[in-house]
């Protein structure tokens, strides 16, 4: 057994791997299950000693562009986000594949199959294929550490960004990890190539064609790294492809070794040679992958008669949605074991709820009362703790779609004639993606009311600094909100009647109103 071992969450193993790979900066916006990567770096003594950049960015797009700027200057940068954050950063991500990089650039996308803390379960491997960049998918915390280090080497070797994909269960599971000797940071080495970085169509066409021409070689190089491997097995009636974390569930089913040939996949693009070798050796293939049937669909294609039987999520061997579990993988392999006692009938769900004393409770109380006389009103909400206002006893909101969509949906609904049209957004979500939507509304004098629940922190993800802190009024006024319709309230029960009155006034104003309900998150107060 190794000597110097540390217990790391998958997220922390990635963070330590990046520090030891000599990064000069981390750029991120908090989002479960990726938040702990940045938090680890923020607490790491060596990051402070080296002056590694480690402050939160306004959103995932600004984070990725900032990381790309650091790469342009020759240094290594890490950028982390949850899967839906990559949608926000997609413009930067897709085009960073066309510019390529100078210093190593690794983008971590933490996917959340089964939607433990998310609104969808999109699979980030599609983004890797979309942009034509290599994707790394570690199976364990040790691989998370080792592959992060290799991802930076590979990024500089190929001069391309590398996407590193993990899923919730690895991000939030702790295991012993052995670290290796740290590498020093890159010196400043600013790029001088305008053809690489100025994506005029003439340059971009050249860069893209060159990336496409290199793709077969990139695939070969990715597959030559030690992470994809073939493990022979005597029973060739079935070959198994196990991607990322799926490899663990497979091994869990066969403590004495899997009898079938297994192809462990932790690297993309998929190598046709590897897949072909498995195909030639086996009668059928079972694909185990966490998330979408990404590999499986590439194998089956659209031919009505595939070359061989492919089993997985598409043929019902595994559920079409939701994360892999030890149980559904065991069932797919006919290795189910007896379960413990059934859950008794008196069991009731215990969903998450707003904390006792949470300022959002008082805000929803005055909002509901203010809206009582307006049966046609609609409240468009957003991503954060306050989404829990959809549940009893509040049942105060009618939508939650994506970061910032409260303001823009309220505007669209107001355009369509909904009145009063109300948007409810948190302070951090507002600076993430609310500003531009508010600008649309101000420019058109849209009759809508925006309630900003300012708890002076990013609450849902555990209390990260909000870039809105101390800036909210100035931001709203700067965008052009009428100062007489920018109101600031203290959401406390003793101000309830007064707050109801103020919100009613603003609901009746036929233009853009912004009401800021400001009181610090109770969890953060506790932490002190």
């Amino acid at each position: 057994m190794a000597t110097k071992r540390t217990l790391f969450l998958g997220d922390e193993a990635l963070a330590q791997g990046a520090l030891d790979a000599g990064i000069s900066g981390v750029y991120a916006y908090p989002g479960t299950p990726s938040t702990e990567i940045m938090e680890y770096v923020q607490q790491a003594p060596e990051a402070a000693a080296r002056g590694v950049h480690r402050l939160w960015s306004a959103n995932e797009k600004t984070a990725l562009e900032e990381a790309l700027g650091m790469s342009y200057a020759g240094k290594r940068a890490l950028c982390c986000m949850k899967h839906v954050g990559l949608n926000v950063a997609a413009d930067a991500f897709m085009n960073a594949a066309v510019t390529g990089v100078n210093g190593g650039l690794v983008v971590v996308a933490a996917d959340d199959p089964s939607m433990h803390s998310s609104q969808n379960e999109q699979d980030s491997r599609f983004y890797g294929k979309f942009a034509a960049v290599p994707v790394f998918e570690p199976a364990s915390q040790q691989e998370a550490y080792d592959m992060m280090r290799q991802a930076f080497e590979f990024s500089e070797q190929l001069r391309l960004p590398v996407l590193l994909r993990i899923t919730t269960r690895l991000a939030h599971s702790r295991a012993d990890v052995t670290a290796s000797a740290p590498r020093s940071e890159n010196p400043l080495n600013v790029s001088t190539s305008t053809r690489q970085w100025v994506l005029l169509p003439g340059h971009a066409r050249h860069n893209w064609a060159s990336l496409m021409a290199r793709l077969p070689d990139i695939t070969r190089q990715a597959d030559a790294l030690p992470w994809n491997r073939f493990i022979p097995g005597p029973d060739r009636s079935l070959g198994i492809i196990a991607a990322g974390l799926a490899f663990n569930y497979l091994n869990e089913c066969f403590p004495d070794g899997c009898p079938h040939p297994v192809l462990k996949i932790s690297q993309y693009p998929l190598s046709p040679d590897r897949i072909g070798a498995l195909q030639a050796a086996c009668d059928a293939i079972l694909v185990l992958e966490d998330g979408a049937p990404f590999i499986e669909e590439q194998l089956t294609g659209l031919f009505p008669k595939p070359v061989m039987r492919i089993r997985g999520r598409l043929d019902g061997t595994l559920p079409r949605t939701g994360e892999l579990t030890p149980e559904n993988v065991a069932a797919a392999l006919g290795r189910s074991r007896p379960e413990g006692p059934a859950v008794p009938a008196l069991m009731t769900p215990r969903p998450p709820a707003l904390c006792r004393g949470c300022p959002h409770c008082d805000s929803y109380a005055f909002l509901k009362e203010a809206l009582a006389g307006f049966p046609a009103s609609r409240v468009f909400s957003d991503i954060g703790c306050y989404t829990l206002g959809a549940l009893p006893p509040y049942e105060a909101i009618h939508s939650c779609v994506d970061m910032g969509a409260s303001i823009t949906m309220a505007k669209g609904a107001a355009d369509a004639g909904v009145s009063p049209s109300v948007a409810v957004i948190g302070d951090s979500t507002f600076t993430h993606s609310g500003l531009t939507g508010l600008l649309d509304a101000v420019a058109e004098k849209t009759p809508m009311t925006l309630l900003i629940l300012d708890n002076e922190i990013t609450g849902m993800t555990g209390g990260q600094e909000s870039l809105a802190l101390g800036r909210l009024e100035a931001l709203c006024l700067g965008i052009g909100v009428d100062p007489t319709h920018l109101r600031v309230l203290l959401p406390l029960a003793r101000h309830h009647a007064e707050n109801v009155g103020i919100v009613r006034e603003e609901l009746e104003w036929p233009g853009v109103s912004v009401v800021i309900a400001r009181r610090a998150c109770i969890q953060i107060k506790k932490k002190g």
Partner: protein, 198 residues
């Protein structure tokens, strides 16, 4: 050696602090471990659980398979029953705190919950809040739980005590001593039960 367990509770009860102490002890003993946690939205007062796996060999899955847990350690009686399918059908222990967290409406009848817990093959139900309070350390509820669980977990008590000491040293000797006292009381409550393990 393999030991798989589930730690169950309500967001905010600090189940991760128990898992962390077990993890620290396991690491000192040069064991492998995997510990899967719940972060994010569920931590806001929802049902939360941690999977903890200890072994002298490398561990594959981060999650304990259903039917594989040698113990469910529950910080709360309703949560004790939520993950029963994970318990080893024959020999698994259900160790539960009796003190309810009533943040849902309606909360089931407490006596009915106790009856369900006692109906299991190997239950141990006790009031950890009271145990900690009686020893003058009302904040050390998790130590009572860890102590009660420790009789069944194949880690030496000294290793767990060393982990507790290391964890609280920063807060001074008195805090270390009171946490150790509650841990020992919890352990004493189950020591006799752990002997004739079926």
């Amino acid at each position: 050696m393999n030991y798989d367990m589930i730690i169950a509770g309500v967001g905010g009860q600090g189940i991760l602090s128990i898992a962390t102490l077990l993890g620290r002890a396991a690491l000192d003993l040069n064991l492998h471990l995997k510990q899967s946690e719940v972060h994010g939205m569920a931590q806001r007062g929802g049902a939360v659980l941690a999977h903890l796996r200890l072994s002298d060999k490398p561990i594959h899955s981060d999650l304990v398979p259903r039917g594989g847990a040698a113990m469910i350690l529950a910080m709360e009686p309703l949560e004790a029953l939520r993950y029963l399918p994970w318990l080893e059908p024959a020999g698994g222990w259900l160790v539960s705190n009796a003190e309810p967290v009533r943040n849902i409406e309606p909360y089931p009848e407490l006596e009915a919950l106790f009856a369900e817990i006692r109906r299991q093959a190997h239950p141990f139900l006790f009031n950890a809040e009271k145990m900690a309070r009686d020893l003058g350390a009302p904040r050390a509820v998790n130590m009572a739980m860890l102590g009660a669980a420790s009789s069944f977990i194949p880690l030496p008590a000294e290793s767990l005590e060393a982990a507790i000491t290391a964890q609280f040293t920063r807060k001074g000797e008195a805090v270390v001593a009171s946490n150790l006292a509650v841990f020992r009381a919890g352990r004493q409550a189950t020591e006799a039960l752990s002997q004739p393990r079926p």
